[in-house]
């Protein structure tokens, strides 16, 4: 049953992906700014040198920007379906390779943030709901407010100042692949993880607390208590699974957001993920890379939502038959 449902939902994502690809492709082309000029070094108005018409024309042809857009799209889609997202006009590295080279960094960071956020948020959110108006609840509330009110970049800079500059415990920027040096990997990923994890946790705590309080009023909870179950079983078995149902839907969205990377965090920590790549590619009007990265992020969002749906179906037996 679940397998059939999963397959059906997977098939349903195909039209979504197609529409996304059309939108991404055309939106990227709509970004104002002359990519020929950018390629020739006329970005930002800082350079005063003369540019010749011939070179402009030569570059235009090279970038293929003169072809009709539907043709450009068809060509692009045809290649994309074979896993070829084109090559950046700036260099000879296939866009797919660049993305794949940077994707792990973003995914590790997202996963670490999700794990940290979840580890903090679930116990805290549940405790806050179960022990309303106690110090745990106030602590949870504090975390939520902090997460919602303080901008990520500020938290990032404060953490860098404290743990990097003053205490000297952790590096302030960069990334090391786990297979190269796992300890260094952890050291580099710690601060960005705290920033993103806290942000993630704030959302999750807020959600879990509200939902848990609602769940605790449900009749099935009274039934569980009437069975003589311990409070631990009532909360972590009976209420928790039901509460996760709603939370998973929200998490799916938050998680896919994290998977897309955080431009601000990647910029501040000079973290070589795909989000910063996207930013640089926009600056460079490197549309092939922009399209590739955006499509990749969209794919990931769709896939995470798909996973959330499957997880939801796993948790919620009703959905499979509807």
């Amino acid at each position: 049953m679940l397998i059939r449902y999963s397959l059906r939902r997977l098939l349903e994502t195909i039209p979504t992906l197609f529409i996304i690809s059309v939108i991404v492709f055309s939106l990227v082309l709509l970004i104002p700014g002359d990519r020929v000029l950018v390629m020739l070094g006329y970005s930002g108005g800082d350079i005063a040198d003369v540019i010749s018409k011939e070179v402009y024309a030569a570059m235009e042809i090279r970038l293929g920007v003169n072809d009709p857009i539907p043709l450009q799209y068809a060509r692009w889609l045809g290649r994309a379906l074979q896993g070829d997202l084109g090559t950046s006009p700036l260099h000879a590295i296939p866009v797919m390779d660049i993305i794949l080279a940077r994707l792990p960094a973003t995914i590790y960071l997202a996963l670490a943030s999700i794990i940290l956020g979840t580890l903090v948020a679930i116990p805290l959110g549940v405790a806050a709901a179960v022990k309303q108006n106690t110090w745990v609840d106030h602590l949870a509330n504090g975390v939520v407010l902090f997460g919602l009110v303080t901008p990520g970049f500020w938290v990032a800079l404060m953490l860098v100042l404290l743990f990097g500059v003053y205490l000297g415990w952790l590096p302030t920027f960069g990334y090391t692949a786990p297979q190269d040096d796992f300890v260094e990997f952890l050291r580099h990923i710690t601060l960005p993880t705290i920033v993103l994890g806290l942000d993630f946790a704030a959302n999750v705590i807020r959600f879990i607390r509200t939902d848990f309080i609602e769940q605790m009023r449900e009749d099935y909870v009274r039934t569980a208590r009437a069975k003589g179950l311990s409070e631990r079983l009532v909360i972590w078995k009976h209420i928790f699974k039901n509460s996760m149902l709603a939370t998973v839907t929200v998490l799916g969205f938050d998680i896919s957001r994290l998977m897309g990377g955080s431009t601000i965090i990647e910029s501040i920590f000079a973290y070589p993920g795909i989000s910063f790549l996207l930013l640089q590619s926009i600056f460079n009007r490197d549309f092939a890379t922009v399209q590739g990265v955006v499509i990749f992020i969209a794919l990931m969002v769709v896939f995470m939502n798909y996973l959330a749906d499957i997880l939801y179906a796993l948790l919620n037996p009703r959905i499979r038959y509807e």
């Binding site: 208590r225 069975k227 003589g228 409070e231 009976h238 039901n242 919620n316």
Partner: protein, 327 residues
Amino acid sequence: MAILDVQHLTVDFALDDGGTLRAVDDTSFTIDSGEVLGLVGESGSGKSVTALSIMRLLDSQADITAGRILFDGEDLATKSEAEMRTIRGQRISMIFQEPMTSLNPAYTVGDQVSEVFRHHLHMGFGESKQRAIEMFERVKIPRPKDTYGKFPHEFSGGMRQRVMIAIALACGPDLLIADEPTTALDVTIQAQVLSVIQDLQHDMGLALLFISHDLEVVAQMCDKVAVMYGARLMEVGESTSLFTGPRHPYTDGLLRSIPRRGQPLTPIAGTIFDLRSPPDGCRFHPRCPYAEDRCRRETPELRALEPAGDGRLAACHFPLAGVGAKA
């Protein structure tokens, strides 16, 4: 011997506005082993609160402020949470009115039954599963084996209530509290579920506290009946004699308000008072056709009535003769 002896039970709710509400007031009754006591009364009279007090499952705003709940000689009112957990589901069980929401939608019904075996009797998965399937048989669920792995939403209300019964009776309790177990069901289903309860009660020799406002069902199911009005008991007595010869004007009114062939339907005049400000004296007096001055001043105690020996108790200064006419 009485398995349950409730003495002067008083439950107060702390209201959000700072006031208090007495949902159960100075209520006493007993249930013997194997006996079925019906608890009847209008909505809001305190039946469920009484039941939840026995289970010690009251909301946090509620507090048992007086009285004792002697179960098998021990006072439940003073037991710790941990002690109560060994009693709940094992020695006293409860089934609720809403079969649609009382089961956990996220777990299979089998799990919800076998869980009780695992928790209280420390069985393994295989054994608890076996026992759960047996329970499904006993509550007459068709194809009990297939039932095990199904989820609550795959069942009708009647079947779910049977699952609830299976959960409640799994550990062979001494006392079952059924709080309006069939109110939410269709009439035909109602009868089936009631017969399941009745059969099992009989087979297992259960003491049963059966809460309902359906007097006919109570008459059919119960050995003894207690009538509640505005947080207090008005009358207690043998089921048959109480229904044929009510001694309390409120019981009398209740009986007259159910449609019966050949008799005009006469609902009790007026409405129930606000529990936050109960009237002085007899709390039924604003609606009682027999009320006199004394009724407005003095609160009548629940006491044994003449002729002594039939066990009838009523809280009235001027009890009825027992044949529908004023004494």
